[in-house]
């Protein structure tokens, strides 16, 4: 990936476009300056499917640039970087890896668009959730905001933008990007990815989906104090860093299994593309 000039250029362009759309375009403002539904949040998903690793890295860098230019660069940016990487990475690894839920087609929304829609929406939800969980986890570790707050807000914002905008955008853009020869299976030399995706990959795909969603559901449940969980931050906890110990532990498990499963899920898109 990092040896191919076109992939490197794609990474830079994805990053610059993501940042350039994140900053000025707000569809629905919830708390001004703080949280809003940003149409740009569809990009990691659709770019992830089309540009693969270039989109994962590009989304991560793009979010960082957006932080830098909007004056929100700080310790929290690391969470945004990793979270947006996951947003793109999950989308890249999941297309075609959801077993019966996968359409087995290219995401052009022209053939069997009903099944493509199901597959797409699942991926958008999973990607959005994974991104939200990582960001909220990091902010919780830093003791800036409780996990449940940002996990909920970011999940909703990301899902709204990516689920609503993805299908029409892919419908209009996928055939054109394909014609331009920029889909990652067409750009990358075949030695750069393996095509051995099989049953293990599907397991990985389901694993990613389950992990992301469980992480947020359990984390938020703890946060809002569902029966049986002591959710208050203990004031005298070690280091006094404030993040609740249970959230940190849950996050560590969630984070590791998210990446473990997504590495298990070998990309399938190049096979689909070739058929």
């Amino acid at each position: 990936m990092w040896r191919d000039t076109r992939m490197i250029m794609l990474t830079a362009v994805v990053a610059a476009v993501y940042a350039a759309v994140l900053i000025p375009f707000n569809a629905i403002v919830i708390i001004p300056g703080l949280t809003s539904v940003r149409p740009a949040n569809v990009f990691p998903v659709i770019f992830g499917i089309m540009f693969g690793p270039a989109a994962a890295w590009g989304s991560a860098i793009g979010n960082l640039i957006s932080d830098i230019f909007s004056g929100q660069f700080g310790a929290g940016s690391l969470g945004g970087f990793v979270g947006n990487f996951a947003f793109g990475f999950v989308s890249y690894r999941l297309w075609g890896n959801l077993g019966a839920l996968s359409s087995g087609e290219e995401p052009d929304f022209r053939g069997n668009s009903g099944r493509q829609l199901v597959e797409y929406v699942i991926i958008a939800v999973v990607g959005s959730t994974a991104c939200a969980a990582i960001i909220a986890w990091w902010l919780d570790i830093l003791g800036l905001f409780p996990f449940s707050v940002f996990a909920t807000i970011v999940t909703i914002n990301n899902t709204l933008a990516s689920a609503v905008l993805g299908p029409p955008l892919l419908y209009l853009v996928y055939p054109r990007i394909k014609e331009m020869g920029l889909l990652y299976p067409d750009v990358l030399r075949s030695e750069d990815y393996d095509t051995s995706a099989g049953a293990r990959s599907t397991l990985g795909g389901y694993g990613v989906a389950a992990t992301a969603i469980l992480w947020v559901v359990i984390g938020v449940a703890i946060g809002v104090g569902v029966e049986g969980f002591g959710f208050f931050v203990s004031m005298g906890s070690v280091f006094n860093q404030g993040g609740s110990t249970i959230q940190m532990a849950l996050g560590a498990v969630g984070f590791l299994s998210l990446f473990a499963f997504s590495f298990l899920a070998r990309e399938r898109f190049s096979q689909i593309r070739r058929n």
Binding site: Y171, L172, P175, R176, E179
Partner: protein, 607 residues
């Protein structure tokens, strides 16, 4: 570096198709194959020699293979672009078909049209250092190369820490040249380096190319050989040799003067004939005496017995546009507008008074930063004046809703790609009128009519993205026409189009004005367009109106032109050399022919 026979680049039987799986053995390689056929080979058995030390200009119609040919000279074809290739390419003693692009970069430098796509550095210094760094030049040698390259391109005093994105277009392109010069190539390949620039930017690049081709002395003596593709005559004249490509083959090549005065060959290769050549050919001069520049042309006229009689209706534009005017549409009163920046407001429009009547064609010209585009955006409410007022049909423009003023006053942006999004041409064109509430049969009728007008009927279901730039610009125009506006404001509508596309687009606009009374306000840098279509010109300078009168009067006054830093088209410049003070200047080649007595009037110098 050069092979012993003095040839810098030798191409033999080069065939190339962008289609990876093309069968080159069975493909139609005749020069007459359809040039717009994207499937077939672009180069169809090209043979070409570029002599070492020469400056060769390559011209030809779109689709003729000019850019593709250039890409073989630094191994982009076949190393970088995956297509089907056959043939021999020998550049500076290397077999370019077996060399990586990055290896070729030691010897061959390339500059393309779109400067935005060629800048990668986060500062001026980093940009210039980038090439030498890639080629592993020792760091201590890079500093002197940066100084040398920046002064070569006329930017020695530019702050080295500035970000390239803050520079003007002309400066950006000069920075691209500096970045390439810093690698000290023996062969310099230029692909329409000025097509995206304004006249000032173009002149600066012409100076840079001149300096590079003549560079001598310390450090680096400039590229030995230059090959340039262009469709602008003023640049082509820098070269000493010319090659015309047609259908993927070299159709005509030789010394510049010889090729450029071969009117028949130029026409057959679909290259715009230089206007003076066209005029003198029509007047009856023999091929070998056709002039390329106004100065020699003036001497030839003086030496002949021809006399100059100015056009009979000097108030009319050569295209007959803007002749019939009606009621008052726009009145601008002391309009001011400033952009907010971190460093406080920056005034862009500073007290403008102006009026536009129905049916007029008004050209708005001036340097980048003179405020012409900012002013133009007041006509349809994209900008609202900070002070003063803008009225349309007696009512203040900001008082209209966008859905009202948008229907009446269309705005065609410079780059059609900034608005095209839909799946088909038809949906794209229907987008505006639909937003303005049209539907059903009325909508269909309007869209049909608009597509017919821009000569894209029958292409309703095509993807506008796959179109050429000229076609995309016409799609954008159709999208505006379908709302049936009274006025269209054009913002540099012909930038980036080749000569034929420019002419086609502007003829369309002219027809709309003459036949349907469309009012036209156009922001433009192209003086040939101004001369042909706009009877009235407004010159902007530093946010103010510096001139607002007849175009012909402006072009007749060389001192005014100099003051506004404008250059008249060649036929006008010639007319100014030879006419009496009370005669009006010709603005186009056709007018010049008439003014000198009509076609075939010249029958040799002896009579």
């Amino acid at each position: 570096m050069t092979s012993s026979d003095g040839i810098a680049a030798r191409l033999r039987d080069v065939v190339f198709s962008y289609d990876r799986g093309a069968d080159l053995d069975t493909a139609d390689l005749s020069a007459d194959a359809d040039p717009d056929d994207r499937e077939g080979p672009v180069l169809r058995g090209l043979d070409l020699d570029v002599p070492a030390g020469s400056f060769t200009v390559v011209m030809g119609a779109s689709g003729g293979g000019k850019s593709t040919m250039l890409r073989t000279l630094n191994a982009i074809i076949p190393d970088f672009i995956d297509g089907s290739f056959r043939g021999e390419v020998n550049v500076l003693g290397r077999d370019a078909t077996q060399t990586r692009v990055s290896e070729m970069a030691h010897d061959a430098g390339m500059v393309l049209q779109d400067y935005e796509s060629q800048l990668f550095g986060t500062s001026v210094e980093a940009e210039v250092a980038f090439g030498p760094e890639n080629l592993a030049v020792p760091p201590e040698d890079i500093g002197p190369r940066i100084d040398e390259s920046l002064s070569l391109v006329g930017l020695p005093d530019l702050d080295r820490r500035r970000e390239p994105s803050g520079l003007s277009g002309g400066q950006k392109q000069r920075l691209v040249f500096a970045g390439v010069a810093a690698t000290r190539p023996d062969l310099l390949v230029l692909d329409e380096p000025t097509s995206d620039l304004d006249p000032k930017g173009t002149r600066d690049i012409v100076d840079v190319v001149t300096r590079l081709s003549e560079q001598e002395g310390q450090g680096w003596s400039g590229p030995e050989t230059i090959v340039m593709v262009t469709h602008k005559i003023e640049e082509a004249l820098l070269a000493d040799r010319a090659v015309l490509l047609k259908g993927g083959k070299a159709f005509r090549s030789g010394p510049l003067q010889e090729v450029f005065t071969d009117v028949e060959a130029l026409r057959e290769a679909r290259v715009a004939v230089p206007p003076l050549v066209e005029a003198f050919d029509a007047l009856g001069w023999p091929d070998e005496d056709l002039p390329l520049v106004p100065k020699t042309a003036a001497e030839q006229v003086r030496a002949s017995d021809l006399t100059y009689t100015g056009p009979k209706n000097p108030e009319q534009a050569p295209a007959g546009t803007g002749a019939e005017t009606g009621e008052m549409l726009f009145e601008l009163n002391d309009v001011e507008y400033a952009y907010e920046t971190d460093r406080g407001p920056v005034t862009a429009v500073d007290g403008v008074d102006m009026a536009v009547r129905e049916g007029e064609v008004v050209a708005l010209v001036g340097h980048n930063g003179s405020g012409k585009t900012t002013l133009a955006k007041h006509f349809n409410g994209l900008h609202a004046a900070d002070a003063g007022d803008v009225t349309y049909k007696g009512r203040s423009v900001p008082d209209y809703r966008m859905s009202e003023i948008g229907r009446e006053v269309g705005y065609v942006f410079q780059n059609p790609d900034h608005q095209i999004f839909a799946d088909t041409v038809r949906e794209e064109v229907a987008f505006g009128p639909e937003n303005f509430g049209l539907e059903g049969e009325e909508l269909d009728r309007r869209v049909d009519h608009a597509l017919e007008t821009v000569e894209l009927d029958g292409l309703d279901d095509e993807d506008p993205f796959s179109f050429s730039k000229g076609q995309r610009q016409r799609v954008a125009l159709a999208g505006i026409l379908a709302t049936d506006p009274e006025v269209i404001v054009f913002d540099e509508p012909t930038t980036g189009l080749d000569a034929a596309q420019q002419r086609q687009f502007m003829d369309l606009v002219g027809k709309l004005n003459r036949e349907e009374g469309l009012t036209v306000v156009m922001v433009t840098h192209d003086m040939a367009t101004v001369a042909r279509y706009a009877p009235r010109t407004v010159v902007m300078q530093d946010g103010r109106v510096a001139y607002d009168r007849a175009t012909r009067d402006l072009f007749a006054d060389e001192s005014l032109l100099a003051q506004y830093d404008l250059v008249a088209p060649h036929p006008t410049e010639l007319a100014n050399h030879v006419r009496d003070d009370d005669d009006a200047p010709a603005l186009t080649a056709e007018e010049l022919v008439t003014a000198l007595g009509g076609e075939g009037v010249y029958s040799g110098g002896e009579q």
